[in-house]
Amino acid sequence: MAARALINVPPKAKRGEVIGIKSLISHEMETGFRPNATGQLIPRNIIKEFVCTYNGVEVFRAEFFPSVSANPFVSFTTLATESGTITMTWSGDNGFFATESVAITVE
């Protein structure tokens, strides 16, 4: 099944308010350091980058490494400036790419 993502952005906010954003995505985050049953290393398969944009402007970026847990959960804050769309993208090994968007109304 394709990657599942759960994101939590308040649907409404006041202008200038600090809003909390939470994101969770299903990914095994295979480190590349673990051997399989025959002693061969399981190839690394991780998400390498997470980016959040607010109306096209980047507000948060994170680099992920092999020590990040499976199904990474990222929580951060930003300033509510105007109504629009908050978009999150995850990209990584083996051409992994996932994106989620949510609308926010700022009054």
Binding site: R4, L6, N8, K22, L24, S26, S69, A70, F73
Partner: protein, 257 residues
């Protein structure tokens, strides 16, 4: 004559289960109550609870047609109503098999008998997803496994397994989870072993896992012979644990450290 028989039966029962201090109802605590504030917050928020990723996958499977056969939804309809409270009643006695089956086994019975499909492997992502989805519909509902004559025999077998010393460490489940649940083991809470949130997203596993996986963990810990996934002994232990937790609300999918 009859009174004597009952007295003899009681004496035998008394000998088989010597002085086990069962946890009084008022003192029962879910694993949730032993967790840190941060772990509780993860479970409480459906967008932070990683178990919800499996619940969403389970919903897809619920509506998916298996080859030319029916989907779960074709027979059971909307799971929000049809599956409400179901997980709180499992494991349940199956008259066809003459023994109790847990929720995972019940789902696989439906798959083989009604959908003419291959059963899911135990602990596979798909089986965990469907179990979590069905379990989610009973969140907040008090655990209530049957306590009738035919189920009673298996509850007693489960109790026997719970109180039997086993493994190289020669420990019974009850010695930790009835007698020393307020203590700590290697920095972790011992807990009462109440099966309130299964399948759980365990942070240590970085994965969703069934109650049987957790039981096998504990059995490995005391260095006992570990039954295979789906073994009758583990189902009986599950049944006893659910009976022991009767009345406690289900939290599926739970988050545990």
């Amino acid at each position: 004559m009859r009174a004597w028989r009952i007295a003899a039966a009681l004496a035998i029962v008394g000998a088989a289960f010597p002085a086990i201090a069962e946890i009084p109802t008022a003192e029962r605590k879910s694993g949730y109550d032993f967790m840190s504030r941060e772990s509780r917050a993860m479970q409480d928020d459906d967008t932070a609870n990683a178990g919800m990723l499996w619940v969403l996958d389970g919903e897809t499977l619920w509506n998916r047609h298996v080859a030319a056969e029916k989907s779960c939804a074709d027979c059971h309809g909307d799971a929000r109503t049809s599956m409400k409270g179901v997980a709180a009643r499992y494991p349940a006695f199956s008259p066809a098999l003459g023994r109790p089956v847990n929720l995972e086994q019940r789902i696989n019975i439906c798959r083989t008998d009604r959908q003419q499909a291959k059963p899911f492997a135990y602990e596979s992502k798909d089986l965990l997803a469907l179990t979590a989805f069905v379990g989610r519909q009973s969140r907040g509902i008090p655990i209530a496994v049957a306590d009738d004559a035919q189920t009673r025999t298996f509850i007693d077998s489960g109790r026997e397994a719970f109180t039997r010393r086993q493994g190289q460490l020669n420990l019974s489940c009850a010695q930790c989870h009835d007698d020393n649940w307020s203590g700590r083991l290697a920095g972790n809470s011992v807990t009462q072993g109440q099966p309130t949130g299964y399948p759980i997203y365990r942070l240590e596993w970085q994965n969703l896992g069934s109650l049987q996986r957790r039981l096998r963990n504990c059995l490995t810990g005391v260095r006992a012979v570990v039954p295979a996934l789906g073994a009758q002994e583990l189902v009986e232990l599950e049944l006893f644990l659910m009976w022991r937790a009767r009345g406690m609300p289900l939290e599926t999918p739970g988050v545990r450290p």
